[in-house]
Each structure stands twice: as C-alpha cells, then as structure tokens.
C-alpha cells in the first residue's frame, strides 16, 4: 500500500519533469533566449524531445525484464503520450511557424524532401497509438490486436531516427547517438524473441 502511494507520487513527479523541456522553451521564448532563429530552435528542441521520449518509452520493456520492476511498464503509456505531445508541438511548429499553412509547399516537402517524406508518416502513425491508449480502447480492440497495433512504435522509432539523420547537414553525432540507443533497445527485443522463439 505504502509502496503504491510512493509510486503514484513518483509518477506525478515524472509527469511534471516531462513538461520541463516545454517550460524551458516557453521561458526562453519570453526572455528573448531562443537566439537568432527562434523557429529553428523550437523545431529542433521539440524534435529532440519527441525522439527522447520515444526512446524512454521503448526502454520500459527491457528495463522491466532486467530489473523485474513493474513501474517502468506502468508509466509507459504516460511517457508514450509525451512523445506524441512533443511530436504534435514539432509538427505544429512546422505547420504554423515554419510554413504558415503554405499547403503547396508542405505537399512539395512531403513528396520531395526525404527527411520529411519519412518524418510525416512517422507522425501520422503516432496518432492511432495515442487514440488507442485509453483502457477502454484496449478493451475494445482486445489485448492481442492492441499489442499488434502498438508494435508500430518500432517503425516510428526507426523512421524518427532516420528523419533526424537525413536532415542534419553534416554533423551526424546526435542522430548517431539516437541510432545507437534505438539499436540497443530493439536489439534487446530481437535477442529475446530469438531465444524464446
């Protein structure tokens, strides 16, 4: 019982911590701290946190398997929704601040710019996962189908890292770091699947 209380408090704390990147952006925005190219800064920051929360979400299963703790998986939904939350901010920044609803240019971007060609569907794929994240939806879909649908997150993670990789001009240090983390997280699942197949 006592432990449940602590875990619930800790979850609330994590919720607040997950809002820090947004709070920091807002604070910088109001204090002229986003630099010479604020739109680029907001795009990069929200994109970075989308990928980071995707990685944290994907870390839940391996962490439970190794530690036998249950909380990583119990927080997973909240963390996944934060990935979706930052992805929405990222997409809205592109739509409103960067392109300002220039649909013609947006369509051209999706068709012609490989990093957007892969990034845009990755964002779209997040939507059904967010929509089906409630308990009710899990029941309606049934555990098996729900699980199968949510395997999409592997594709989204890969597409997200490639999106980042393809957009940087030359220095791929950060995309490489994400790629290494993702490889480890997916590799863990693969090895487990291989051994228990």
């Amino acid at each position: 019982m006592q432990q449940e209380k602590y875990l619930s408090a800790a979850k609330s704390l994590v919720f607040l911590i997950a809002l820090i990147p947004l709070a920091k952006l807002a604070w910088l925005g109001f204090h002229n701290g986003l630099g010479a190219n604020p739109i680029e800064k907001i795009t990069r920051t929200t994109g970075y946190w989308t990928l980071t929360f995707l990685m944290i979400t994907l870390a839940a299963t391996p962490l439970r398997a190794i530690s036998k703790w249950s909380w990583p998986v119990r927080w997973r939904r909240m963390l996944g929704l934060f990935a979706f939350f930052y992805a929405c901010l990222h997409f809205l920044t592109y739509l409103v601040l960067d392109q300002f609803f220039d649909w013609g240019d947006i369509v051209k971007d999706i068709a012609k710019r490989p990093y957007i060609t892969i990034g845009f569907p990755a964002f779209l794929m997040l939507i059904p996962l967010a929509v089906t994240s409630t308990n009710k939806m899990v029941q309606r879909l049934g555990g098996k189908r729900w699980k199968r649908l949510h395997k999409l997150v592997y594709v989204i993670g890969i597409a997200g890292v490639i999106h980042f990789w393809w957009l940087v001009k030359k220095d791929i240090t950060e995309p490489l770091q994400f790629a290494a983390v993702l490889t480890a997280l997916l590799g863990f699942r693969f090895v487990r699947w291989w051994r228990f197949r």
Binding site: G35, A36, N37, I39, F100, W166, L167, K169, K170, D171
Partner: protein
Amino acid sequence: MPNWKMPKVLTSEITPKDVYRQRREFMRLAAGTALGVALPSHLIAGEKLPTLVKSAYELPDKLTPFEDVTHYNNYYEFGTDKESPAQQAGSLKTRPWTVTVEGEVRNPKVWDIDSLMKLAALEERVYRLRCVEAWSMVIPWVGFPLAELIKRAEPTGNAKFVEFTTLNDPIQMPGVNSPVLDWPYREGLRMDEAMHPLTLLTFGLYGEVLPNQNGAPVRIVVPWKYGFKSAKSIVRIKFMEQMPVSSWMKAGPSEYGFYSNVNPSVDHPRWSQAKERRIGDFFKRPSLPFNGYADQVAQLYSGMDLQKNF
C-alpha cells in the same frame, strides 16, 4: 524662440555644388590615404576601425542586429551548432597572422595581416548573406575588393582559379579534431569571380574589427554565393590552373558544387532553396537569383547551364 531669426545667407557664400562635391571626393580620398598611416597595428576583435570610406554598396534592407550576426554562425572549426563559434572562438589568436599569396603569380608574398589591411582604403559595404540552409542576414562588412590584392600579386596566364585556405590548428580550433569536414577548410573561386568588384576581402563588420567567430582576422565575402563559399580566417591564397576541390565539395559532391551561386530554382537535394527566412522575420521571403546581385554578376555565367554547374 521669439528672438531667433532665420540667418541670411548670401548667395555668394554658398559653396557651389561642384566645388562641394569635389571637396567630398577629396575628403574621401584623403581619408583613404590617411587610413594607411592611421591604422594602428595589432587590432583585435571589437576595436573600432578608423574612419571608413562610405561606399556605394548600400541596401534598403534593414540590417541584421549585431548580436545575431555575431551569435548565429556556421564556423565548424569551432563546433557545428550555431552558438558554438561565439562561445569557442575566443581561443583564436589573430596576431601575429600571415596570409601567404602563392601559386601562379609573379609576386608571391607572405603578407603580415597589419600591412595587408593597409593595402587599400577600407570601405563599408552592406551585403545580403544567404546561407545554404535557407536563412539570410544583412551585414555591413568592412574591407576592400579582393581584386586590389590580386592585382599586386600579378597572376600569370595560368591562373584560372583561386583557392582560399583557412587556418587549421587543433589547439586554437577545437572543431578540427572532429572529422566532420576535410580540414583545412578550403574554398575557391574562378579568377573572374575573384576579381569581381563585389568580392570583398573583409576585415571587419559593423565598423569594428571582425569578431573571431565571424572569421577574424581576414575572410572573403562573396555576396552572390551561398555563405560557405566565403572562407574565414584565411592563411593562404593560392592561384592555380585547375579548379580546386573545396571541403564542402568533398563532403557532398551532389549537394555542394564549386559555383554554389544562390539560385532559387536549383534546390539542395534535401531541401528547397526557393525561399529563405531573413533572421528576425517571421515570414519567409522568396530567394533571389544570385542573391539579388544578378545585374552585377549574371554575365559571368552566360552560356553556362546553372542546373549542372550548381
């Protein structure tokens, strides 16, 4: 002011317009000549440059604030993000500094930076800067045409291209420890581009000695090309017969060509070049062919396929 009366000026007292004009011209020339003597040696970043000749190169565009010009930089020798150069370039020592002029020239010479600065009158020129990443600035540079230096070097008939080399010192430049580009940073121009009056050998901006992060102590500025063509912190200017291979051409031959003229109709393979965001603006603006300098430079490329020679 009830006691104040419009002063009467006799027509004879008014300086005739042509005399007045001549005097301005005289002052301009005098300032230029005096400059050679007046320039104190050992100028460091931030110091005001003495009286500059105002040039005809002005723009109606609003200047990009000094803060943005000096804190949003692409200078990979000091890190690959925009903030790093301003934070890290303090370690660059700009004195003593020499620029070696060599290759296909009759007068090769190792120039000391302080005598190089006095070679011609420094003038202020307001140029647009268009980065290949689709953002732009408007910057008041200080320098003189590169042609002044080239004339003194007396290129031979074999000199078809000029190569600029940036300092490559891992102690002063932490970024060169990473293999992100093939160091030293090299850039090049065709001779006629290098001789063009718009091509500026640049020592300052906003009336001050170049801040380190902007390419101190000497860089070139080629306003009709993407920013990366304008090599910073130059230590060598070499005249050659063959087209040099620049660091960016080596890094991505399909993305960065030798010419790299600003061209809204030739996209970077990964992003559009049709528009740009002027730093400080919300809405993007259409990019202009040759960055708006088509009247001055388009003839350099007449007959060339600019889709191929990007």
